[in-house]
Each structure stands twice: as structure tokens, then as C-alpha cells.
Amino acid sequence: MRFFYYPGCSLEATAREYDHSARSVCRNLEIELAESKDWCCCGATSAHSLNHLLSIALPARNIALAQEAGADIVAPCSACFNHLKRADKTLRENEKVRREVEEIVEFKYTGAINIYSLLEALVNIYGLEQIAARVKKPLNGLKVACYYGCMLVRPPEITNFDRPENPVTMDQLMSRLGAEPKLWSYKTECCGAHQGIVNEKFTTRLVNTLLEMAVEAGAQALVTSCPLCQANIEMRRNRTCTLPSFYFTELMEIALGVPVQKIWFKKHLINPLPLLESLSLVG
């Protein structure tokens, strides 16, 4: 199995542990990740906020690279996934914009490339059963609240993945890894996104609510799939709350029996090692 790996800007900086664990999980599952050194930013919220055409053109350049590589795109970051997929839908359905963008980016859109989030690629394409069969160290005793955020599931006509209000894919994955996903109703409430930089007090309020709800549901940790969600959850919260948050790939690494280096967990602003050690999940 081979994908075109699109890490996105955050995975080079604030989300380095996501990049590391994503690659490590794929290596363990023998999934080949082709990567172009020349990918560019997807444009994120800023492009679609100010310039619609730019928000199609930047992803289109990355789709062009995937076309050259001849592999479907897999994006760990939920926001990158959403923006690439949104641009792809426009290129597929709007001939006028497609012609314009083809001219701007100097490529010919073939429509042959599929775009998946890493979660979708692992669970729905590689397969839950295949992952379960490779679990060496079940995450016994770990109670988690799976946090999907917005970009992975909304709007459904773009993402075409799981259910927009009550998604279950990550819960199923955690369950097969041996963890106990808790039922809670804040799976897809927004974390505050880029307002974490612009108006941090609003984001802090949203994140505190998420954390309170996760605790109330009996979770010991949050599980995320988005660098911006993870950053807000770790950075914009009341200091008294020490509930850790993991990228789902970090928990997969442990469950698949990959020798885990503690240095990567130390990159978290909220230290998850006490929890992992209390459950004997890291040595």
C-alpha cells in the first residue's frame, strides 16, 4: 500500500510528534509513504478567508505533485485534509474555476487522485481488522475521549467521512487497540481554531469546556487528529487541568509495540507520561 504523504506546515514545527508517530505507524504497518520535498501550504483558514481562488490554487499545486507521484494523498492534519478535499471538489465540479486554476498552477487536473485523512486511510482502507491483528500491547485500562473537531467531518459533502455530528471511526480504532472510548457529546465541538492566536481568551473558554466534558465522561485523556486542535487543547486551558491529549498515532505506536522513545512524549506541553506509566504502557 502506497500513499502520497502530505505532512503540512504544522507537522514540521508544533506537531513534530504527530509527524514522527504517523511515519512510525505507517512503517510498522508496511505502508509506503511517498513524499515530495516540494509540497506547499494548503492555504489554511487564511486563504479561504481572504481569497477564494488562492484557496483552490495552493491545494491544486499539491494535487499536481500527487498526480506526478501517481498515488492517493494522505494528510494527517485534519485542516489540510479538509482544504485539499474542498479544492479537489471544486476542481472536479466547476469547469470555469478548474480552467483558471490549471492556468495558474500550470498543470492538467486528471481527477485520478483521492484524498484521505490519515485516520480514514488507516481505518477504512488499510482496515481495522488488519490493525487489530497487529496489536502487541493493548492499551488496557486507558479511558479516552475521542475528539474529532470540525475539519475531519464537516461539511459532509466535502469530507465524505463518517458522521458529522457523532463520528465513531476513532472510537472504533481506540476500542480495537484495547482502550476504552468514553461516550461524550463534545466530539465535534470546535476548539477555537486560529482564534487560539488571535483571540486566545475565547479559545481558552471553548477548550476548558471540552476538557470539563471529557473529565465528566470519565476520560483520562483526549485523543486528537489535528495539530491545531492539539495545540489549542494543550496551550489554551486553565493551568490547573492536567488531562493529557494524544495524537491518535501516538497511541497506535504504543499498541503496535513500537519501541517508544519517551523524548517524543516530552514534547507535549501537558506531560502524558505519568498516565502512561501508571498503566504500565511505557516502560
Partner: protein
């Protein structure tokens, strides 16, 4: 109160055309507002923005904080019984308001511009440099220094970013997009 002399009768149809959304269908059920994470934290709820667009209250809409505080979380668009994609409307309103200096939200437009300039110069967003530029520009220098230093020590804000190899290609894309916009 609505000042009838200040209404822009073209505004509603212009926003409708640019966003591709049937704004006239909104019957103020407020389902968007009840699920909006920013609603109670900003000056207008999403259904109020839509109503003001319907009425042609151009200036009030374009100066609002709400259009810049919208998170594009898409909760409203999933729940709207009339399938109005409010985030698409907000995108159009932000693009129209971008050049306004009289708007009530100052920081968000600055952030988006610095973010896009970061992409234009290296093809990728260099998070550390982008943050410093944003903090300098908004004058909010000190609020996140301890946090920034912690991130830096954890190796999460590398000072050097490779960016894309073909930076000229990125500039070309930006220039061509700008040219298309000015046409």
C-alpha cells in the same frame, strides 16, 4: 434600529452571487446561532448577520467582529434547514471587508495577511516567524513569551524552515491569482 437611507440594495444579491448561497431562504430559525461556538462571544449571531445581509446593511455587516471571529467550524452549515452554507457567506464578507480599517476586529485581518505573506515568501508557513511578525504588528508582544519559550525548548518552534524548493513557482501562483482578482 435600521436607518433606511443607509441600505445598500445591491449588497444582498452581490453576496448571494459571490457565495453561491440562497441567502433569501433564511427564515431566522436560529439553529445556526444555538450551535455557534462564537455566537455569545461576539457582536452578532450568524442568523443576525444573514438578516442584515438580506436587508442590505452593508456597513454594519462589514464592520462587525462576527465575520472575523467566525471559526469556519461548519456546525451551522450542517444544521441549517435551508442548506445555507454560512461559512461560505462569511468568506465572501471577509474578503469584502479586508481593506476596511474601520472594522471592529483588528487582529484577525492582520493575522490572515501575515499568514498568507508567510506562504508567499517560502511556500510554507514558518510558525515561529509568523507568530513573531504577528505579535510585532499587533503590539501584543509579551502575552505568549513564556509559552513560546517552552515550545522552543521542546524543539517545536524550529528557527530555520526549509520551505519549498521552487519558491519562484509559489510567487508566480500568488501573482497570477492577484492578477485574476484585479481583472
Amino acid at each position: 434600529m435600521i436607518n433606511l437611507t443607509n441600505l445598500d440594495h445591491e449588497f444582498s444579491s452581490l453576496v448571494k452571487e459571490k457565495s453561491g448561497q440562497s441567502i433569501e431562504l433564511c427564515f431566522q430559525c436560529q439553529k445556526c446561532a444555538s450551535g455557534c461556538p462564537m455566537g455569545e462571544l461576539t457582536d452578532y449571531y450568524p442568523h443576525q448577520i444573514i438578516r442584515m445581509v438580506q436587508f442590505g446593511m452593508r456597513e454594519r455587516v462589514l464592520q462587525s467582529k462576527a465575520i472575523w471571529l467566525c471559526l469556519s467550524c461548519e456546525a451551522c452549515s450542517v444544521r441549517c434547514p435551508n442548506e445555507i452554507k454560512i461559512p461560505a457567506v462569511m468568506d465572501v464578507l471577509r474578503a469584502m471587508a479586508e481593506t476596511k480599517t474601520s472594522g471592529r476586529e483588528k487582529n484577525a485581518p492582520v493575522f490572515h495577511k501575515i499568514f498568507l505573506n508567510s506562504i508567499k515568501s517560502s511556500g510554507r508557513v514558518h510558525e515561529a516567524v509568523m507568530m513573531v511578525k504577528y505579535k510585532l504588528k499587533t503590539g501584543d508582544l509579551f502575552s505568549d513569551i513564556p509559552l513560546g519559550l517552552r515550545m522552543f525548548r521542546k524543539g517545536k518552534l524550529p528557527l530555520i524552515s526549509k520551505g519549498v524548493k521552487n519558491k519562484r513557482e509559489i510567487k508566480k501562483i500568488f501573482n497570477r491569482v492577484e492578477q485574476k482578482y484585479s481583472e
